[in-house]
């Protein structure tokens, strides 16, 4: 079964929201699938995509890969000059 881009994007949003909400969560695709009640395969695509655009950190490969939220760079004291 192929998954439409639309579904993937929706899932991607869901994942992003999940990790923003749980910035200290460490998740495997399998674990997250269970939590979100989603299929593993589309989730893997989405997680890797999020890792590729550096929203998530990925460590390990395959089934053992763990994803976690990568806090964006923040600087609240940039002088304008």
């Amino acid at each position: 079964m192929t998954i439409s881009d639309q579904e993937l994007l929706k899932l991607q949003m869901e994942c992003t929201v999940f990790f923003e909400n749980n910035p200290y969560a460490y998740e495997t695709a399998k674990g997250l699938a269970k939590k979100l009640g989603r299929g593993i395969e589309p989730l893997e695509i989405v997680l890797n995509r999020l890792a590729a655009i550096s929203i998530l950190d990925k460590r390990g490969e395959g089934n053992m890969a763990i994803y976690s939220y990568k806090t964006p760079y923040t600087q609240s004291e940039v002088e304008i000059h």
Binding site: L9, S54, I55, V78
Partner: protein, 729 residues
């Protein structure tokens, strides 16, 4: 030809014309196809013509044998048929499809002075029975014509042939086009129902168009870059996915043009090497049509004809229409897909919005905006949000995918360009800019509270991409602005209300000294307890507000009931707890109420006396925890400076000033009364006011009475409330 009502109309038209000519020439006229089949009803009542139109019969056969002798005719001619002297005009014309010759037959014409002679000849000729009689009738009925007259009739019938040809051809065209349009409609409706069969539709288009050999569509995939994405027809499969650039070869040339282009006899043209390279061995002509939406070029539709064909202009015309349709189809498909993609992106935005609204924290909202903008773009490289910080001279940034120093450098640049100079509201939209490194940035202003306060910027690899995501990013940025506005509003409202409450509290405190002291201590204890970690900062300020409310009188409290519903609820519970103190039974009070009870209890205690070990309705754990805190608080206290809790962002002085000015105007206060009111609002006591204005306390009281009367309020608290309401209203 299709038998449909409109064809009947065409026939009628031809019949009408034929009839007109027949009456005018007083000839019988018959229009037939190449096989002698009549196209319309003959304009004659003559039995002979009836026989000619019969499906078979000796007369018909014999007559057509005679006519066939003249098969090569290209112009109208006077022909002797059956007997020399019995003349018919035969006017050939092209069949509508151009493949065959049709005829107009008109007769019978007899040279002047020959009728008598012909009658005899007919009688003498060895004709079969029926023929003999029919021919005789024809000759007898026929008028005698001079040679000149016959010549005129020949021309006229020629005209009739031309007219018929035109009418029939246009009818044919119409039929052809309609037929194909009907097919096209079918194709369109199927493809619209099911977008999955685009290639199939393409194939169908090709079959509908008839004579075309290879039809293809080259899609613009980047600036100046095209790729053949769809293909139909045989012998060109290698063209699939082939890429070319603007200006390269025929297709590349077509890409530069805004109008359709056409080339023939291109086998030897070097510009055709693209086709050769991609395995197209047979080609003669090429036609290209730009596909556009508005000013934006989406791609090129092209048709490769393999052989030279004697293309009928009708066909060509139709093909052009068809191509235009295909172009439209592709364009609409592209737009639809684009919209679909945007809807795809927008739909999850709804979820995100809900989440963002619940966040109520600027930093988290900024995180989300950055993450979401990266998620919504197909090939993102980085996103950054620059937001003014409360101090004004600095900005805060949240970024991803961009080196930290570059992010800061960019933030400075944006701040100077967008945030600094421009204090008015930007029209919603976006700007494309380039960083010093040449990175293309799409920038969306974050506008709220009447000012551009930030910029959401997403870097993109191409303008094409910018085009694709600009709507959805605009939606995101707008949404972000709205949510930040709501956070801002909520804070502002909270600040104003709290500031207001503090003023009311400060004024109420003066009436009751003991209670005031106790309440002040409670406020301090709550601050300290929060630092100690016993309660959160939010809990502390909630309880502080409840504590301040407890000092106000009922009228002042009810004035504030809308803004501080939670706090008043806690106060009510607190009252119940006070009343139930010492009673037995099971009680269930909220945690804030239990905390308030405990804090107020300890605030009331003389510190040097040991107090109760338990309060009714307060959980022992909570009580003991606070007791422990009380034991160590002096060490904590010495380490911290107490803040007065007035946030810097809100300017209360301005609000007060506005409020007082409004009140002075509205109620006609004197200069002195205004001075007194100003001091009242700043929570000065009568004594202070007297000292500051160099008047006696008694005079202060008199002023106050006048002020209260003018303002129709009964006490300071209400007066302050008025001023404040005017100030923020």
């Amino acid at each position: 030809m299709i038998e449909k009502s409109w064809i009947m109309d065409v026939k009628k038209t031809v019949e009408e014309i034929q009839q007109t000519y027949a009456e005018f020439t007083r000839l019988s006229i018959l229009i037939v196809d190449g096989h002698g089949r009549p196209l319309v009803k003959p304009s004659s009542h003559h039995p002979f013509f009836k026989k000619l139109t019969d499906a078979d019969g000796e007369t018909r056969d014999r007559f057509w044998q005679e006519v066939r002798h003249y098969a090569g005719l290209t112009r109208p001619a006077l022909c002797d048929l059956w007997l020399p002297g019995v003349k018919f005009i035969i006017a050939p014309f092209k069949s509508p499809d151009g493949d065959a010759v049709y005829y107009v037959l008109a007769g019978v014409l007899i040279q002047s002075g020959t009728k008598q002679m012909l009658e005899e000849e007919v009688a003498g000729a060895g004709l079969y029975n029926e023929g003999h009689k029919l021919l005789l009738d024809l000759v007898l009925e026929a008028e005698e014509l001079s040679g000149e007259e016959a010549e005129i009739w020949r021309e006229k019938i020629g005209k009739l042939a031309e007219t018929s040809e035109r009418v029939l051809r246009s009818a044919y065209r119409e039929a052809y086009v309609r037929e194909r349009l009907a097919e096209l409609r079918d194709v369109m409706s199927t493809t619209r129902r099911d977008r999955g069969t685009v290639d199939q539709a393409f194939e169908q288009f090709l079959s509908v168009s008839g004579g075309t050999d290879v039809m293809g569509y080259a899609e613009k995939i980047g600036p100046g870059e095209y790729q053949i994405s769809r293909l139909a027809g045989e012998g060109a499969s290698l063209l699939q996915d082939a890429e070319f650039r603007e200006g390269e070869g025929f297709l590349g040339q077509a890409a530069l043009s805004d109008t359709p282009m056409q080339w023939t006899d291109i086998q030897r043209d070097p510009r055709a090497s693209f086709f050769k390279q991609h395995g197209v061995s047979e080609f003669y002509g090429l036609r290209c049509f730009p596909v556009r939406v508005g000013m934006e070029k989406l791609g090129i539709l092209f048709i490769v004809s393999k052989k030279k064909v004697q293309a009928d202009s009708l066909m060509r015309e139709f093909e052009e229409v068809l191509i235009a349709l295909v172009g439209e189809y592709i364009a609409s498909g592209t737009i639809e897909a684009r919209m679909e993609r945007q809807i795809q992106r927008l739909r999850p935005l709804m979820e995100v919005t809900r989440f963002m609204i619940s966040a109520q924290n600027i930093q988290r909202i900024m995180f989300m905006l950055v993450d979401m903008s990266l998620s919504l773009v197909w090939n993102p490289s980085s996103a950054i949000i620059v937001h003014e910080s409360s101090s004004g001279q600095k900005v805060q940034i949240v970024s991803r995918g961009i080196a930290n120093d570059l992010a800061e450098q960019y933030a400075r640049e944006v701040a100077k360009r967008v945030l600094h100079e421009n204090s008015s509201v930007n029209s919603p939209g976006f700007e494309l800019s380039q960083t010093e490194e040449g990175q293309l940035m799409m920038e969306y202003p974050i506008v709220y509270a009447g000012k551009t306060r930030g910029v959401l910027a997403v870097s993109l690899s191409s303008e094409q991409e910018a085009e694709e995501c600009r709507e959805v990013l605009l939606a995101l940025a707008t949404m972000g602005s709205i949510i930040l506005q709501s956070v801002h509003d909520q804070r502002q409202l909270g600040l104003q209300n709290e500031r207001f409450l503090r003023l009311m509290y400060a004024s109420a405190k003066q009436r009751e000294d003991d209670q005031g002291k106790k309440a002040d201590l409670s406020l301090r204890l709550l601050d300290e307890y929060a630092r100690y970690g016993g309660i959160t900062a939010e809990e502390a300020s909630l309880l502080q507000r409840a504590n301040m409310l407890s000092v106000l009188d009922d009228a002042a409290r009810s004035e504030l009931s809308d803004s501080f519903a939670n706090e008043l609820e806690i106060l009510n519970e607190h009252q119940l707890m006070l009343e139930s103190e010492g009673r037995t039974g099971s009680f269930s009070y909220s945690r804030p109420a239990q905390l308030l009870r405990t804090v107020l209890y300890f605030a009331e205690l003389d510190e040097e006396t040991a107090g109760r070990l338990h309060l009714t309705g307060v959980s022992p754990e909570l009580f003991n925890h606070f007791r422990k805190f009380m034991a160590v608080r002096h060490t904590v206290q010495s380490e911290v400076m107490l803040s007065d809790g007035t946030p810097a962002a809100f300017n209360p002085a301005e609000a007060e000033e506005r409020g007082i000015d409004a009140i002075v105007k509205e109620f006609g206060l004197s200069k002195r009364e205004k001075d007194v009111l100003e001091l009242v609002v700043r929570a000065s006591s009568n004594k202070d006011i007297a000292a500051k204005l160099f008047i006696s306390e008694h005079t202060v009281k008199n002023h106050l009475t006048n002020i209260f009367n003018k303002m129709s309020v009964s006490d300071r608290a209400q007066a302050i409330a008025r001023v404040f309401n005017r100030g923020i209203g």
